[in-house]
């Protein structure tokens, strides 16, 4: 399978426009390899066909799929917005009430990429729920890639990265401008405990979680592995905890213990009654 210059041009333009990831000439091999499973999934015989299909159906879902396949580390501040709205309006207010007696919250972001997602959550929490600074908040963020984790810990972003999805008032409040880059301030950075975890392998001990973010990473696994991961999340999620998946992801036909919440495009799930794992710690702390 080889890609023609015209088709490579089409795909790289699409990808840069939608994700800001630049595919320079020379990256043809990358497009070819990433398109392989998408061709199978969409029953397209060739990249040529795939591109023609996108040209024929410019508003179809295929463009999103191509972009997703090309952007392994793709992320942005407040990506998709809706999950963060759901947290602000529903999830955190609920947990603040339920955890009033212990004043403790455990959060986990399971595919942190370059850090935009965990830092978005942290900024949202500080902005809207300043009382949490007196709570015991254990916030773990993990990724398989040490390279990504190093970037997370550093918390330095390019102008393009802070342009994408980060509200300007938060930029000036929570970042320091250093020459051409922007660095997240220490009070946010120190909040998040970055760890390396391969979701597809053994997980280290994690506390039982109130909120798990597992967004835009299940898409890279086959159904059996998705089931295993969702099953493990079920074990570490508190019975009344919340799980967030990416916009293109679902638990449907994978794990019936989860129920999608009816909050606008938030990708937010809870465990059905009686589906929580018997607690390893004293129940309902």
């Amino acid at each position: 399978m080889t890609i023609s210059p015209g088709d490579f041009d089409y795909i790289s333009k699409l990808v840069v426009e939608r994700s800001a990831i630049v595919l320079e000439p020379g990256k043809e091999y990358l497009v070819e390899s990433r398109m392989r499973s998408l061709l199978q999934e969409t029953h397209c015989p060739s990249i040529r066909e795939l591109v023609q299909k996108m040209v024929r159906e410019p508003n179809g879902d295929l463009k999103n799929k191509v972009v997703d396949a090309m952007t392994t580390n793709e992320t942005s501040f407040f990506r998709d917005l809706h999950p963060f709205e759901a947290m602000k309006n529903v999830v955190i207010p609920d947990l603040l009430k339920k955890r009033e007696s212990t004043r403790q919250l455990n959060l986990w972001c399971g595919a942190s990429s370059r850090g935009q997602e965990p830092y978005s959550v942290a900024m949202m929490l500080l902005e809207n729920f300043p009382q949490l600074t007196t709570w015991k908040v254990h916030y773990v963020a993990s990724d398989i890639s040490e390279k990504m984790l190093a970037r997370c810990r550093e918390g330095i972003y390019s102008q393009l990265e802070v342009n994408r999805g980060l509200p300007a008032p938060l930029l000036v409040k929570y970042f320091d401008h250093r020459a051409t880059k922007w660095q997240i301030k220490d009070n946010i950075r120190k909040w998040v405990d970055f760890k390396q975890i391969n979701l597809a392998s053994h997980w280290p001990h994690l506390p039982r979680m109130d909120i798990v973010f597992m967004r835009n990473v299940l898409i890279y696994f086959d159904p059996p592995m998705k089931k295993i991961i969702l099953g493990k999340i079920r074990q570490i999620l508190k019975p009344d905890g919340y799980l967030f998946l990416g916009a293109a992801e679902t638990t449907l036909n994978l794990d019936d213990a989860f129920q999608r919440m009816d909050i606008k495009q938030s990708g937010c799930y809870r465990l059905r009654e009686g589906q929580a794992h018997p607690s390893r710690e004293p129940a309902s702390v």
Binding site: R18, A20, S76, L81, N163
Partner: protein
């Protein structure tokens, strides 16, 4: 929905205009702040203004101050789109009444995400 693009560079106006069209917006344009005030007077249904900073006759900051100083167009969201990237300038623009801020260079994705932050999505 209608948007007003204010930039002295025709190239930038064309670029922004193309992006907004693709997102379903109707677009009117102006080459500087003074002209923009006139365009706005004739197009009071603008829901969004994209405003460059450095322009002849009336610059972007002056435009924002002028619009926000009146009782009109209070619903219109203002987004600076400029090469100015100092924290102090961003704060200045926000304090003057801009709602969002994009630092050039940008692309369609940047603009789309910012518009979503403003709670504006074209039909």
């Amino acid at each position: 929905m209608k948007a007003l693009i204010i930039d002295d560079s025709r190239t930038i106006r064309q670029l922004l205009s193309r992006i907004l069209h693709e997102c379903g917006w109707e677009v009117v344009e102006a080459g500087h702040g003074q002209e923009a005030l006139e365009v706005l007077a004739a197009n009071s249904d603008c829901r969004l203004a994209l405003v460059d900073w450095n322009m002849p006759v009336m610059n972007g900051l002056e435009f924002v101050r002028s619009v926000r100083g009146e009782d009109k167009h209070t619903d219109m969201r203002i987004m600076m789109v400029t090469t100015e990237n100092d924290t102090s300038n961003i704060i200045l623009a926000l304090e003057a009444g801009a709602n969002e801020y994009v630092m050039k260079p940008f692309n369609r994705d940047v603009i789309e995400k910012k518009i979503a932050l403003l709670g504006l999505t074209a039909a």
